[in-house]
Amino acid sequence: MVTENDVQHIAELADVGIGKEELGDFTHQFNAILEYFDTLDRVEGQGAAARDLYNVLREDEVEPSLPQEEVLRNAPAQEDGFIKAPRVM
């Protein structure tokens, strides 16, 4: 069982935000789904068996990078070739 507080906390951890109006319904649905997830408690078994695909590696070769304009093209805010982001402190 998760509480509305828990749901609020998870929303913050995931940086998705949840409005006060939504919180009640969200929590209710959340709990129903988590209860459904509990079916997994009954699962028994060894886990992932050996697969056939290992050591997928590429040679250390340089390939062309994107031109700076392409890197910046979709960025909403930029300055002198850097991408602008909100302050960290």
Partner: protein, 484 residues
């Protein structure tokens, strides 16, 4: 042996950039430092939606070389995991790293302990991960603060080496770091001269008290400084009966202090899970095929055996790959003949002169040092003159002037030892005694210092060219005659 009550316990997590040509998960060139921001970026390292990582084989080979050199065990199956957190320099909002299945475990690095003996610092593990981008903090309180991000560094391959808390002082931590750096250089997997290529997180505690983490120390000297500051800080708190907080701190290089990191998220929940876009590695069998080059310890032993270097000189010379190579180039033409002098002159004198000028070894021609050693060996110039010649050469190099050969400098400055020309020395001695009657008096009264003073005076007059032993003998003779 440190006092039980205040025993310092240090563990290090060292991140080094591996010197591959392309990044860890994409083909962007790793040679970004002299280029503009965001010019070494592609959909993969920019974390564009839909892009997928492709693992660089050489990065794994390099990491395995390091693991083998540090006596680690390569695990049977290792895998990459996602470490999830939000930060503007982390463009996927997760770092691809290795969590519960790292490439290698165990191992050790031998250092010289505080007590002077060889000591093994054990390692916990070694793993591979990608570097995030680089954040530049801008603005101010008035204009508003913001960050600028450059993703050139995002995706550079890193090797993380985690030690057990086996170090007992900031000094031992420095030694560990130096030995590690040297080993990585010898393996040709790391370029220590590249800015930002090495970062250290240190864990330090006083026995019986909480552990403090100091994050993101970016210079070798910084590690010792930061830890020294911490030891003092923690000991002071203990002395005052205060509790040491278990916390993360940052080292402020400029001020030489550590500061508590006031972060909003107390404990990050990284929500690790295996990276679904990469396949596991089974590379244990590759270890046998890895041929290690001669490593620092072996080279040190060889220098002692082959060149007759003292332990201390050998340690200094082999403690840096470039220096060791330089030494061997200098003595190559006549190892037996040149090594004894070269040992001292390179390990002690040259290093000192370079440090003083903030110069690296690269601009110095081994042949010019070899020529200097030859002059010294032949007795053509005194040690003092030797230092003068060295300084002239280095200064010329520093100022980008044409560097003269030692022979040319000696000729130009007239530095040839006047050992054979006793007349010049004798005249200088007479002058010195005549000009300093008090010194003569003091000497007659048994003051040993007077002799040294007069030696200095004669040296000045002969501009350092007089052979010290010869000068001493003649001066003492002359003074005795005056006594009589």
């Amino acid at each position: 042996m440190a006092d039980e009550e205040t025993q310092v316990i240090v563990g290090l997590e060292v991140h080094c950039q591996l010197d591959t040509k392309s990044k860890l998960f994409c083909g962007c060139s790793t040679d970004y430092r002299s280029d503009g921001p965001n010019t070494h970026v592609c959909p993969i390292c920019l974390g564009l939606p839909g892009a997928m990582p492709a693992l660089n084989k050489r990065a794994i080979e390099y990491a395995m070389k390091v693991a083998k050199a540090l006596n680690c065990e390569i695990v049977n199956e290792s895998e990459f995991s996602r470490k999830n957190y939000f930060y503007p320099d982390l463009d996927k909002a997760y770092q691809i790293t290795q969590y519960d299945k790292p490439l290698a475990e165990g191992g050790y690095l031998e250092i010289e302990s505080d007590a002077g003996r060889e000591k093994k610092v054990r390692l916990t593990r070694i793993h591979v991960e990608e570097d995030p981008g680089r954040l530049v903090h801008m603005g101010n309180v008035e204009r508003g603060k913001y960050s600028l991000v450059d993703y050139n560094r995002a995706g550079i391959p890193l090797i993380e080496i985690v030690s057990e808390p086996d170090m007992r002082s900031p000094k031992e931590a420095r030694k560990f770091l130096n030995k590690l750096r040297a080993t990585l250089e010898y393996l040709s997997v790391f370029d220590s001269e590249k800015e930002g290529s090495l970062r250290v997180d240190a864990n330090i505690s006083i026995k019986g008290h909480e552990r403090v983490e100091v994050k993101n120390i970016t210079s070798y000297k910084g590690v010792e400084k930061a830890l020294t500051f911490e030891v003092t800080r923690q000991k002071n708190l203990i002395r005052r009966g205060q509790k040491i907080e278990r916390e993360t701190r940052h080292f402020l290089e400029g001020r030489g202090v550590t500061q508590s990191a006031r972060s909003k998220e107390q404990e990050h929940d990284y929500r690790y899970f295996p990276e679904p876009d990469l396949r596991p590695l089974r590379v244990k069998s590759w270890v046998d095929g890895i041929v290690l080059p001669e490593l620092p310890d072996a080279r040190r032993e060889r220098f002692m055996a082959q060149y007759g270097c003292s332990l201390n000189h050998a340690r200094t010379l082999t403690g840096d790959l470039k220096l060791a190579n330089f030494f061997e180039k200098v003595v190559a033409s006549d190892p037996k003949g040149l090594a004894p002098l070269a040992s001292t002159w390179i390990a002690d004198t040259l290093i000192g002169e370079l440090n003083y000028r903030d110069m690296g070894l690269d601009p110095v021609e081994p042949e010019s040092v070899a020529a200097l050693i030859r002059l010294l060996k032949a007795g053509t110039i005194t040690d003092k003159s030797g230092v003068e010649v060295l300084r002239v050469m280095l200064d010329q190099r520093l100022k980008n002037e044409k560097v003269e050969t030692p022979d040319a400098i000696v000729a130009r400055l007239g530095l040839t030892k006047t050992a054979g020309d006793t007349g010049v020395i004798a005249a200088a001695i007479e002058e010195a005694i005549r000009e300093n009657p008090k010194a003569l008096e003091d000497y007659k009264n048994g003051e040993g210092k007077a002799l040294n003073f007069l030696v200095g005076q004669v040296m000045k007059k002969t501009r350092g060219k007089a052979d010290p032993a010869e000068l001493n003998r003649m001066l003492t003779e002359a003074l005795k005659q005056k006594e009589a």
